[in-house]
């Protein structure tokens, strides 16, 4: 299957892309790796008038330590995140989660910014950034703004990102010494997570447990109050709204969230101890 026809632009700079976005508004879509967008377009579930290709913009492709944070260019591909020495040292959760996205071919193309912008609650990386308490940097003709990931998502496939904004950077805290783990439950290796749980430094991000990536706030609060891992994990599905679909019922997802959270917290504790 093939997409509905569209116009194509490949600006040379981020500012050029932003200008095009401003000009075309909701008729335009950004294309980075294309691994969220193109399948949707091929199945004709989406049909943008203009596709703005930012996939070759090297100014969006970097990983560097910046103060207490690691700054990751939004155009950085999953494979690069997965194999980054800087991240492996400074924020090991990110490469570990990136390694579970899709399959090798998908990881060679898909980008961090694209994954975050697509806002699929079943995606791995948004929940990881959420658990890390990261920040999304957006640029528009009005300039740049920083949005904490905790306030970024508003619903299924939607976020506070305006149609004329482009994610240019993702900032995650340096968490080298914190315990971390990612538990992803799938039936097939390259499926979307039925449920995923990212844990870092006592914070818990949940994949596919509601319309957006979520924090297991009750679990985090219980841990902060000194509860045992087992007791805290039993609260992981509180305040979630998991979907029911072919892969599992909401009830099953709630059960998985509790089990996987316990396992992730135990693994994270082991990492921290080690």
């Amino acid at each position: 299957m093939i997409p509905v026809g569209f116009d194509y632009a490949r600006p040379d700079t981020v500012d050029g892309a932003v200008a095009l976005l401003a000009e075309h508004g909701e008729d335009a879509t950004l294309l980075a790796g294309g691994h969220s967008l193109l399948p949707v377009m091929k199945l004709r579930l989406g049909a943008p008038e203009l596709v703005i290709d930012v996939g070759k913009l090297t100014e969006l492709q970097y990983i560097r330590v910046d103060g207490d944070e690691v700054a990751i260019g939004a155009g950085t591909r999953h494979h690069t995140v997965a194999t980054s020495d800087v991240l492996t040292t400074e924020c090991p959760l990110m490469p570990a989660v990136a390694r579970t996205v899709g399959d090798p071919q998908v990881r060679h193309r898909g980008t961090l910014g694209g994954s975050l912008a697509h806002a699929d609650p079943a995606s791995d990386l948004p929940a990881a950034v959420l658990a890390l308490g990261g920040t999304v940097v957006l640029r528009s003709p009005r300039g740049e703004r920083q949005v904490p990931i905790t306030g970024f998502y508003t619903g299924v496939f939607s976020s506070v990102k305006e149609p004329d904004e482009l994610i240019v950077e993702v900032r995650v805290p340096r968490t080298a010494r914190a315990g971390w783990a990612y538990e992803k439950f799938v039936r097939r290796a390259n499926d979307w997570a039925i449920v995923g749980v990212a844990v870092v430094d006592g914070r818990v991000g949940l994949v596919n447990m509601g319309p957006t990536p979520l924090r297991a706030s009750q679990t985090e609060a219980a841990l902060a109050d000194g509860a045992s891992i087992e007791d805290a994990a039993a609260l992981a599905d509180q305040r979630t709204e998991p979907p029911t679909d072919l892969a599992g019922t909401a009830e099953y997802r709630r059960h998985l969230a509790r089990v996987l959270t316990r396992r992730a917290l135990e693994r994270a504790a082991a990492v921290a101890d080690g």
Partner: protein, 913 residues
């Protein structure tokens, strides 16, 4: 030394691993020059009345040559797809007044370019009055809504020659009954359905098609078109998997031919994966009620099987398959009393047909589950109970009592097969390990499943044709009525000819799938090829040797009895004198045309053990080990036979754990893409342990039975049993429900976007440049602009990896990259790795050596993914290989050998460096 029984690598592989196989959609045949492209408008509704179709907007769209609906199809009348089904249940080529499943073709659009077809198809306006969907078999049986008003019933075919006896289980101490779902599966060959038609000036039709049976396709298409079979020339290019779903002709083949005639131009058709998942015949789909009774000492006394079979919307071959299920109802067991009945019903779902095993896996799953239930009820070991009840070796030939006249088992050593597989599995140790884990309350509980099976191969059609000819240049041509879609006939049939002629297989060419060249044949299905088509070749070559000896006797002034054929030469025994077969052929054509008729089906059998770990906290089941005995008699080529076993086992495991075609209550398919359907990758499966055992059949001179489906039949119940076994000591699990997930979108046609972009892409080291539409996918750039056809398209959802190429050295799926995104970059395809079939790249060579390819459709993607994997990890473990190939699907499914090939390639490059 005999070549038979040796591990000969495949002759077809060097081409498959360099320029790639040539599938129907790859053809550049000059007869197809100027071909139009067919796109079908399909029903988005499971059941409804068509109240209007407006094709005007579509007709006005760019590139559209014609739009056709049922009203236009003069000469193509609705047809009964299976002759014995209810005669009112005919299938139209395009829906007439009613649609009966999502995906049913409603209108046909012909365009100059395929991209235009998809745009125009969306502009065909069809108005429907929705009718209630009929999804469940019990609902269909109740008949609240009937699909065919003229029929007045949803019953397509009843198998009711046995009346159930109310006192059937009266003498049993223990009786257990259970309802079992044998879920619907998609055959999903990686090459979807495809056909191309061209009419010659002589008025004859040439039809290129992806099918398992050229001659059957010819006869069916001729019948649908209302012309003589002699007016149809069917040519099968390479076929990218079939698994039963490509048996004979597809009604769309006739539509393609009809349209080509109508517009006076060749027409090409190749469906998308989404269309395939709703349009191609699907398999299994039975609701079974089993009742088993016997004594507490383990003796089974009576077994009853009651089947409701889902025919889908239009009765096709799936309607008939319960016949086999009933014949095979008692499986390997000598049960004093067996009774069965079956009813095939129409529902508003995709029609059903044959899928690997076709009726026999359903029988085996039912009886094996029943044996487990019975064993559990009396508290005996399930393997012991099986051995107690099997047909003993002295009872063959053995006639079953399942109904439909029963089946006659030729030979079998059922208890021996069970003993061997238990020994190889270390059954007692496994049970001890299981007990220990239960005692400890481990999170990972161990389940051990045992299955024993027998199945029908080479049934129904017992005859097959062959010709063998030695040429004056010393080469040999073999013509066969069977044709491969991954089984390796080009190699195996050459071995059979070589055995008699002593001519090396490199000089033997096997031709198949061309109805002008080979007018008579049955084809490849039901695991029949070797024991019919192969044996016919063996017989022809043997007869050719006799003919050559007779001719040579005069020339050599020797008696025929003193002559022998050695290494392609007729020689006088004990002397050096003789004459080459080639020389004889130069004097007079040296050719034998023959047919072999086995006269009956053969019954291969075996036993499987599955070892499964179930995470009792998450519910995840992972197959840890599979150990199998699959006895199909003497093995011609172990490499090929093992490949068939691996593939069958993998598909069988997949039915048990992952696959199901699902619908919501409104009849919307929930598994219409590979993203949703549970097609496994290498990452979900282990390597297999195969145990050898050979019990010959007396039905043919080489003693061979069929092996293509055996693994599927044994593996599913073994894995099912293992999962149940793992948690049998715990409370029962909850079930899941399945709500609707899909909407359907429409988009107005949009051809104001006629802008084109100039791209420059280096392909296999050579610069290429073209003006392209921005939406052109890289895979289409490679295939249609550059003309490199090795790279295949297997799905719409970035799932299958058949289109994998290297982009600047990294693997990517070229169906999910726009050509414009690859501008100024470098692409490597499989053709670039091994331009010369005689000089295969080390990875390609490893795939050949390990038999890492069957139908070849996934192969280009698999090879390219491997190159990328080894670039990033030159010395992977088996686990890393399996995970590294998670993005590439092989339906055949040869992961066992693919993984070995990758490991071999890693080793060979390691030793080189």
């Amino acid at each position: 030394m005999s070549i038979m029984g040796t591990r000969v690598v495949r002759k077809e592989d060097p081409v498959f691993l360099s320029r790639g196989a040539t599938y129907t959609d790859d053809l550049t045949d000059e007869r197809l020059t100027g071909a139009l492209h067919l796109t079908l408008v399909r029903s988005p509704l499971a059941h409804g009345r068509i109240t209007g179709i407006d094709v005007e907007a579509a007709k006005a769209a760019p590139g559209v040559v014609g739009v056709f609906t049922a009203a236009d199809l003069e000469g193509l009348s609705p047809t009964l797809m299976f002759p014995a089904a209810n005669r009112a249940m005919v299938r139209p080529f395009l829906a007439t007044d009613r649609v009966r499943f999502v995906g049913e073709p409603v209108a046909a659009v012909l365009t100059e370019h395929p991209y235009q077809g998809q745009d125009a198809a969306e502009l065909v306006e069809v108005d429907y009055d929705p009718l209630p969907a009929v999804i469940g078999l019990k609902d269909s049986l109740e008949g609240g809504t009937v699909l065919f008003e003229e029929a007045g019933t949803n019953l397509a075919l009843a198998f009711d020659d046995q009346q159930f006896d109310d006192h059937f289980f009266d003498d049993c101490e223990v009786v257990v009954t259970r309802e079992i779902v044998n879920q619907r599966l998609a055959a999903a060959p990686l090459e979807t359905r495809a056909a191309s038609a061209a009419w010659g000036e002589d008025g004859r039709l040439t039809l290129f098609a992806s099918s398992q049976n050229a001659q059957m396709a010819r006869d069916e298409v001729a019948g649908w078109l209302g012309i003589e079979a002699s007016q149809v020339h069917v040519i099968l290019p390479d076929v990218g998997g079939g698994f039963g779903a490509k048996i004979g002709g597809d009604p769309t083949f006739a539509l393609v031919a009809w349209l080509a005639k109508q517009v006076g131009r060749p027409v090409r058709w190749s469906e998308s994966r989404s269309e395939n998942m709703t349009g191609m015949l699907q398999g299994r789909a039975q609701l079974q009620t089993v009742t088993i009774g016997g004594r507490r000492d383990g003796t089974v006394l009576a077994y009853r099987l009651d089947v409701l079979a889902d025919a889908g919307a239009y009765p096709a071959i799936g309607t008939f398959l319960p016949f086999f299920t009933r014949q095979m109802a008692p499986g390997v067991y000598d049960i004093p009393k067996v009774e069965s009945r079956a009813r095939a019903l129409v529902t508003t779902t995709t029609p059903t047909g044959a899928y690997r095993g076709a009726g026999r896996p359903e029988a085996t799953a039912a009886i094996e589950r029943a044996m487990d239930l019975f064993s559990a009820e009396i508290g005996m070991d399930p393997a012991e109970v099986r051995k107690l009840n099997v047909v003993p070796p002295d009872k063959f030939p053995f006639t079953t009592k399942g109904g439909g006249g029963g089946a006659v088992y030729d030979t079998g050593e059922y208890a021996k097969a069970i003993d061997r597989v238990l020994e190889a599995a270390g059954y007692a140790d496994l049970r001890a390990e299981q007990a220990a884990r239960r005692e400890r309350g481990d999170v990972l509980q161990l389940g051990i499943g045992v299955s024993s099976y027998v199945e029908i191969t080479g049934g129904g059609e017992f005859r097959e044709d062959a010709a063998v000819e030695v040429h004056a240049d010393g080469t040999v041509t073999v013509l066969t009525g069977t044709s491969p879609h991954g089984q390796g006939h080009a190699t195996a049939w050459a071995m059979l000819a070589s055995e008699h002629l002593g001519i090396p297989i490199e000089k033997i060419t096997v031709k198949h799938g061309d109805t002008d060249l080979i007018p008579r044949g049955v084809g490849t299905m039901g695991s029949r090829s070797l024991q019919t088509g192969g044996v016919a070749v063996y017989q022809a070559a043997g007869q050719l040797v006799e003919l050559a000896k007779q001719r040579a006797a005069d020339l050599l002034e020797a008696s025929v009895e003193d002559l022998e054929v050695v290494e392609g030469r007729v020689t006088v025994k004990g002397t050096g004198s003789g004459i080459d077969l080639a020389e004889l052929a130069a004097k007079e054509q040296l050719r034998i045309d023959t047919a072999f008729d086995s006269g009956a089906a053969s019954f291969p059998f075996g036993a499987h053990v599955a070892v499964v770990e179930v995470d009792v906290e998450s519910g995840k089941a992972v197959v840890d080990r599979i150990i199998t005995v699959d006895d199909a008699g003497p093995v011609l080529n172990p490499l090929l036979a093992e490949g068939q076993r691996h593939g069958g086992i993998a598909q069988g495991i997949s039915q048990a754990l992952l696959e199901e075609v699902a619908y919501d209550v409104d009849g919307n398919p929930l598994t219409a893409t590979f993203a949703d359907y549970g097609f496994p990758s290498a990452a979900e499966l282990p390597s297999f342990t195969l145990v050898d055992m050979e019990t010959p059949t007396p039905l043919n001179p080489i003693g061979a039975k069929g092996i293509g489906e055996a693994g599927t039949i044994g593996a599913t119940p073994a894995v099912q049993s293992a999962v149940v076994d793992a948690v049998s000591h715990l409370a029962s699990a909850t079930s899941t429900c399945r709500p609707p997930r899909y909407g359907c979108g429409r988009h107005p046609g949009r051809w104001e976007h006629e802008m084109s972009e100039k791209v420059s892409i280096t392909v296999n080291g050579r610069p290429t440049t073209a003006e392209v539409e921005p939406r052109l996918l890289l895979v289409h750039y490679l295939r249609d602009v550059v003309g490199l056809k090795a790279t295949n398209i297997g799905c719409d959802t970035t799932s299958c990896g058949a289109c994998t190429v290297l982009l600047d050295g990294q693997s990517v799926k070229s169906c999910t990259v726009l050509a414009v995104q690859a501008d100024q970059q470098s692409v490597t395809t499989m053709e670039g790795l091994s331009p010369d079939p005689e000089q295969l790249h080390p990875v390609a060579a490893a795939f050949r050596a390990e038999h890492g390819l069957q139908c070849g459709f996934c192969t280009p993607g698999m090879v390219m993914a491997t190159v990328s994997l080894l670039e990033e990890n030159p010395h992977p473990t088996e686990r890393e290989v399996r995970d590294g190939l998670e993005g590439n699907l092989c339906r055949c499914t040869g992961y066992h050998n693919i993984v070995r090939a990758v490991l071999t390639a890693a080793e060979s490059s390691g030793s080189a460096s």
